[in-house]
Symmetry: C2
Subunit: 594 residues, 2 copies
C-alpha cells in the first residue's frame, strides 16, 4: 500500500502515524541484528519503514535484499530510498523492477550525495541529474504503481547553506520552488531532513503551503544518542542547533546515559510541539537503534511497550499480492518466515486455497527454512547440543523448553515462549515428561475481550476464541494408547502422521477446523487460524526435518546423540490434537489417562 | 446432486435415507396446496422428492414447472419422471434441457403407460420404444450430468402378470434381465413399484444381486389411506396382497380412520423389516398427502415432528449452481422464495458477492415477489383489510402480529412466527406500540447448543450464536430520538433509509456484519446470516413496496385506509438495528429510553 494512502486513511480516522528509518549495516551480523531489532519494533505497528540507499549506491544489492525481507518477511510497509549517484537508468530500472516484483510500492527519490572522493554531485552518464528527473522517470515508466516520497529541507539544501549557517532567502525560495516541482512531477509525500529547531520546521511547512504544496509533509526526527555523533551529523547536514540545546548538551556531554536521556526528552518535546500544530505523521531516524525512538513514542502515548496489540494472531502481510490473506494453518505459528517463504508464489488469498480445500501447492522445502541468524544459532548450540543418553533426555529437554527454561528452540523462529503459552506451560511440561514432545500449542479461549494482553487481537470491542491445540511428537506406542483413550473424549479430533506419511486420523481429509476466531462489531467473523489435514501433511516434512537439520546437525558427525535423534525422527509420529469444545473441554484430561 | 451420490454418502455414514413422491395436481389450488405440503415435509430433510410425468405426457409443462419450483424454491433435491409415451425425441430433449438449465440432476426414466384410450404401449414416431432406449439416449446426449433412476418390478411388470396374479418364472427372469440392461446402459438407482408383500421385495433384491445388478434398489412404499383407493391401485398394478392384510382391511373397511391407522401400522412394519435387512433407503408414494408418510417415518425414528433440525438458519439450496451458497442477508429471512428468485441469476456463491462486498446485482423487483397462494391471500384479506383510522391502528396491527395473534403477514411468506421470535415477542410488542413497526428480528444467542429446538442449526455437537437484531419502520421523528439515545449504547449499529433512499447510518458502506454464526467440531466457522449496507438498500425497495402491493391493495381503491398506508410508506424510515454485544448487550434497552 502506498504511504500516501495510509496517511489519507489515518487523517479520516484522526490517527497519528509514525515510521522508522534504517540503513544497511556493514557486516552480516549487523544485518542479522537489524532484522531482529526491526522485527521487535514492527510489533508496534509503524506505518512504514525506510531503508536507505548506501552512499553512491555502494550497498545497492544489500538495500534491495533488505527491502525485500522487510516487506515480505518482517511484513512492514517498506519505502526504499533510491539515489541518482552512479546510477545509469538501467540500474535505476533494475532496482525499481526488483522491488515492484517483490510487492513493494514505496520509493524515496533522492539525488544523492556526491560520489566518493568528490565534493560536488556529478551526473552519471545515462543517469539523472537530480531527484526531479528521477521522480519524472518513475512516473513515466511505472505510472501510478509507486508511491513516491521526496526529501524536503527545512533550512534549504545543505549545499546552499552559507558559511554563516543559513541559506540566503533567495536560495531558500529556490529550494522551495524546486520542491514544488518535485511534487508537481508526481511525488505524493515529503519527508524532511533532520532538524532540531522545531520552529524552523513549522515555518517550512507554512512556506510550503504558501507555495501551493498541499501534500503531507512529514518531519524527520533524529533522537540524539551520542554527543560526538550529534556534532558530526549536524555538521554534515549543516543543521541549525538552537543555543539552549547546545548549552544543555555541553553540560552533560561526557555522560553518555544523560545525553541519551536528554535526546529522548528533546525528541518528545519536539514531537509534542509538532503534533500540537496538527501534523499527525512522525518519521524517526533510528540510526538502527531502537531504544530512543521507542521511548519517544512511548512518551507520546503512541505505543505501549507493555502491551503489544495485534491485528491478527499472526502479523498481517504488507506485500500488495497478499493483502487479502486472512487465514493460515496453525502449524507454522512459530515459523512465520518459513510459512511466508513457502507460500510466496501463491497468487490468491485465502480463497482458492482454503475455500475448495484443494491441495495448496506449498513451495518446496529448502535449506532456507532451516537457516538461522548466527547469534541465534550460537544460543541453539549452547542449549541443545548436549549429550543425550536416552529418549528420556530428549523428553527432559522438551519439558525445560515449555517451562520457559530455554531461550532457543529448533522448531521456532521466535525468541522464548508466546505469552499465551504461559497459561498452560505446567500442563505442557507434564505431558512432555510422558513423552509427548510438544512443538506448538494454544490454550482454549472462550470469549476473551479482544484487547486481552495475552490472547487478544483485532483491537478493542470484540471477543476472541480459541480451541485448545497441542502438537507433539510421540512414539507409536504412546500414540496407540492416546488414541484408545481419546475415544472417551468425543470433543477431540486428531491427525497423526509419521515421517513416511503413514497417517491415522478421526477427521475427514477435507475437514478444515477453525481454531482461532474473533467476533467484532459490524464485521464478518474473522477466522485467522485453522488446522487442516492437507497442510498438515506438508508441514510434517518440515517438522520432521528439524530433528536433523535443526538439532542433530549441532553435534559432531559421529556423536551418538545424533543417532538417537535420527531414530526418534524415523520412528515417532507427529500429532495435531484439537479439543473442539472450547467452552467446557479440557484438552489435557486425556493425557492424565495415559 | 445426484441421488446415487447421496446414497453413497449415506452408506459411508451408515445413515438411513427417505424420499417422497408427488404427482401434478389438477387445479391451481391443488398446486398451491401441494407446495405448502411439500414445504412442510421438506423440513424433515428427505433425501430427494419425485414428481411424476402425467399419463401420456398430458401434464408435461406443469411437471416441468413443479420440478423447477421444487428444486429452486422448495429447495429439495428433485427427481423428475420422464416417459416415452407421446414423446418424440425433441420433446424429451426439451424437457431434459429445461431441467438441466434449472439445476436439476435427477431423472426417473420410464416407458410409461399406453396412450389414453389404448390397451398397449405404442412407440411414438420419432420417440423411444422403452425405458432402456430412453436411458441410453440420456447417457449418449447428456453424458454424466444426470443421475438416472429406473423402475424395478418386484413381481415383474404388470403387463406380464398372468390372470392368476403372478408372472411366469420365465417372464419374471426376462424382466430382471431387462432391468439389468437398463442399469448397464447407465441407470444408477432402481426404485421399485409398490408392493405389500415385503418378502416379495426382499426376494427381488436378492434375485437382482444374483443377476449382477449392484446398484441401490430402493423400495417404493405406498401407505394405505383409503380402502377403495387401495383396491383400485393394487388392481391396476396387479400387486399381490398377502391374505392377512386383506383380512385385516376387510374387518375395518368402513372405518376410514381405522384404515388410515392400519396403513401407518402396516407401512411401519414393512419398513422395519426392510431396514432390518440392511436396506437403508425408503421411497414413499405420498399420493400428495403428508400425514401417513410422516407418521411412518416418525414411528421409525427417522424424523421427529416436534423437533425440526435445520442445516442452516435458512434452507440450503439443492440447485447445483448454488451448492456453495453459505451466507445470506438477514433481510429476506421471512421471504426466502423472494430472495431465491432475486438471486437466481447469480453465478457465484458466496464469494464475489460478499468477499469483495461489491454491489451484488440483485434481480429487479417484479410482481413475482408479491404473489401469494390464494389460500394465504384470503387469510391476509380477513386479517389485514380492516379499517384504519390513524397510525395508532397500524401500530396496534403490528403489535398483534408479533404477539402471534395473526396468522398472516404481508411482509412474510411464512406461516406464523419463527420459534425464536417467541423469546422476544413481549418486547417486540411493546416497541411496536411505540411506533417501531417490526418486520424482522432475532434474539441474541450466546453459545446455545447447536441442537437447541428454538435457535439451533447445523446438527449436534456445536455452538451457535446470534447478535440481537430488529428491523422496523418508524417515523422520522421517532428515528431522530432513537439515534440520539443510541449514542449511549456503543454496541448498537444501525442503518436507516427511507423510500427515496435517504440514508443515516453509523457503519461504513462496506461493513458487513455477521449476525448468525456457528462453531462446530473440525469445521470452519459458519456464518450464514449477515447484515450488509449494500443489500439493505436493495431490500428496502421490496420492504417499502409491501405497504402498497402487500397491504393497501387489499382495500377498495378509494378506501381512506389505503391513503393512510401510502402516507406511512412515503414518510417512514426502514431501520436495521444490531446489538453487537451478543454476550452482555440488551437490544431493547435503547427503546426504553424513547
Amino acid at each position: 500500500m502506498k504511504v500516501i494512502e495510509k496517511i489519507r486513511e489515518a487523517e479520516l480516522e484522526n490517527k497519528t502515524l509514525f515510521s522508522f528509518e534504517f540503513f544497511p549495516p556493514k557486516t552480516e551480523d549487523g544485518v542479522d541484528n537489524l532484522f531482529d531489532k526491526m522485527d521487535r519494533m514492527v510489533q508496534h505497528n509503524p506505518s512504514f519503514c525506510d531503508i536507505t540507499w548506501g552512499a553512491g549506491g555502494t550497498t545497492a544489492d544489500l538495500t534491495l535484499d533488505i527491502a525485500n525481507k522487510m516487506q515480505n518477511m518482517i511484513c512492514v510497509e517498506t519505502m526504499m530510498h533510491l539515489t541518482c549517484t552512479n546510477m545509469p537508468v538501467e540500474k535505476i530500472d533494475h532496482a525499481l523492477d526488483a522491488i515492484k516484483g517483490n510487492g513493494i510500492q514505496n520509493v524515496l527519490a533522492l539525488r544523492g550525495d556526491p560520489p566518493h572522493g568528490q565534493d560536488k554531485f556529478v551526473q552519471t552518464e545515462g543517469g539523472f541529474a537530480c531527484a526531479l528527473d528521477l521522480v519524472k522517470h518513475i512516473r513515466a515508466k511505472y505510472g501510478d504503481y509507486f508511491g513516491i516520497t521526496v526529501a524536503g529541507y527545512p533550512e534549504a539544501h545543505p549545499e546552499v547553506i552559507e558559511s554563516n549557517g543559513v541559506a540566503t532567502l533567495e536560495s531558500y525560495h529556490n529550494d522551495l520552488a524546486y520542491l514544488k516541482r518535485k511534487v508537481d512531477a508526481g511525488a505524493d509525500v515529503i519527508v524532511t531532513q533532520l532538524f532540531y529547531d522545531t520552529d524552523v520546521f513549522l515555518k517550512f511547512v507554512n512556506d510550503c503551503r504558501q507555495m501551493g504544496i498541499t501534500c503531507p509533509i512529514v518531519p524527520g526526527i533524529m533522537p540524539i544518542n551520542n554527543y560526538k555523533g550529534f556534532l558530526r551529523m549536524t555538521g554534515f547536514c549543516k543543521t541549525r542547533v538552537p543555543p539552549e540545546i547546545m548549552a544543555a548538551l555541553d553540560s552533560i556531554k561526557d555522560d553518555e546515559e544523560a545525553v541519551r536521556k536528554y535526546g529522548i526528552y528533546l525528541g518528545t518535546e519536539m514531537c509534542k510541539k509538532i503534533l500540537a500544530h496538527g501534523i499527525k505523521t512522525l518519521h524517526l531516524y533510528t540510526l538502527n537503534m531502537d531504544k530512543s525512538a521507542l521511548a519517544i513514542l512511548q512518551n507520546l502515548g503512541l505505543i505501549d511497550e507493555a502491551k503489544i496489540s495485534r491485528t491478527l494472531p499472526w502479523r498481517r502481510p504488507t506485500n500488495i499480492f497478499r493483502l487479502k490473506e486472512d487465514v493460515r494453518p496453525i502449524f507454522w505459528a512459530n515459523r512465520p518466515k518459513s510459512y511466508l517463504s513457502r507460500t510466496i508464489g501463491w497468487d490468491q488469498f485465502p480463497h482458492g486455497r482454503w475455500g475448495d480445500s484443494g491441495n495448496p501447492s506449498y513451495g518446496a522445502l529448502t535449506d532456507y527454512q532451516f537457516m538461522r541468524p548466527r547469534s541465534r544459532d550460537k544460543k541453539l548450540k549452547e542449549e541443545w547440543a548436549v549429550s543425550l543418553k536416552s529418549v528420556e533426555d530428549i523428553h527432559d529437554k522438551f519439558m525445560q523448553l515449555c517451562l520457559g527454561k530455554l531461550k532457543s528452540n529448533p522448531w521456532s523462529e521466535l525468541d522464548g515462549l508466546q505469552p499465551e503459552t504461559k497459561i498452560i506451560n505446567e500442563q505442557l511440561g507434564s505431558i512432555n515428561l510422558k513423552g509427548f514432545l510438544t512443538i506448538n500449542s494454544q490454550p482454549s479461549v472462550n470469549a476473551a475481550k479482544s484487547d486481552s494482553p495475552s490472547v487478544g487481537w483485532g483491537g478493542p470491542g470484540g471477543y476472541v476464541y480459541q480451541k485448545a491445540y497441542v502438537e507433539f511428537f510421540c512414539s507409536q506406542g504412546q500414540l496407540n494408547v492416546l488414541i484408545e483413550k481419546a475415544k472417551t473424549f468425543p470433543s477431540l479430533t486428531y491427525i497423526a502422521v509419521n515421517k513416511e506419511g503413514k497417517s491415522i486420523s478421526n477427521v475427514g481429509p477435507n475437514d478444515v477446523n477453525a481454531v482461532t476466531w474473533g467476533v467484532f462489531p459490524a464485521k464478518e467473523i474473522l477466522q485467522p487460524t485453522i488446522v487442516d489435514p492437507a497442510s498438515f501433511i506438508v508441514w510434517k516434512d518440515e517438522a520432521f526435518e528439524i530433528w536433523t537439520k535443526g538439532w542433530a546437525r549441532l553435534y559432531p558427525e559421529d556423536d551418538s546423540s545424533r543417532t538417537l535423534l535420527e531414530q526418534v525422527q524415523s520412528s515417532y509420529y507427529l500429532v495435531s490434537l484439537v479439543d473442539n469444545d472450547y467452552i467446557k473441554g479440557d484438552l489435557f484430561a486425556v493425557f492424565n489417562e495415559v
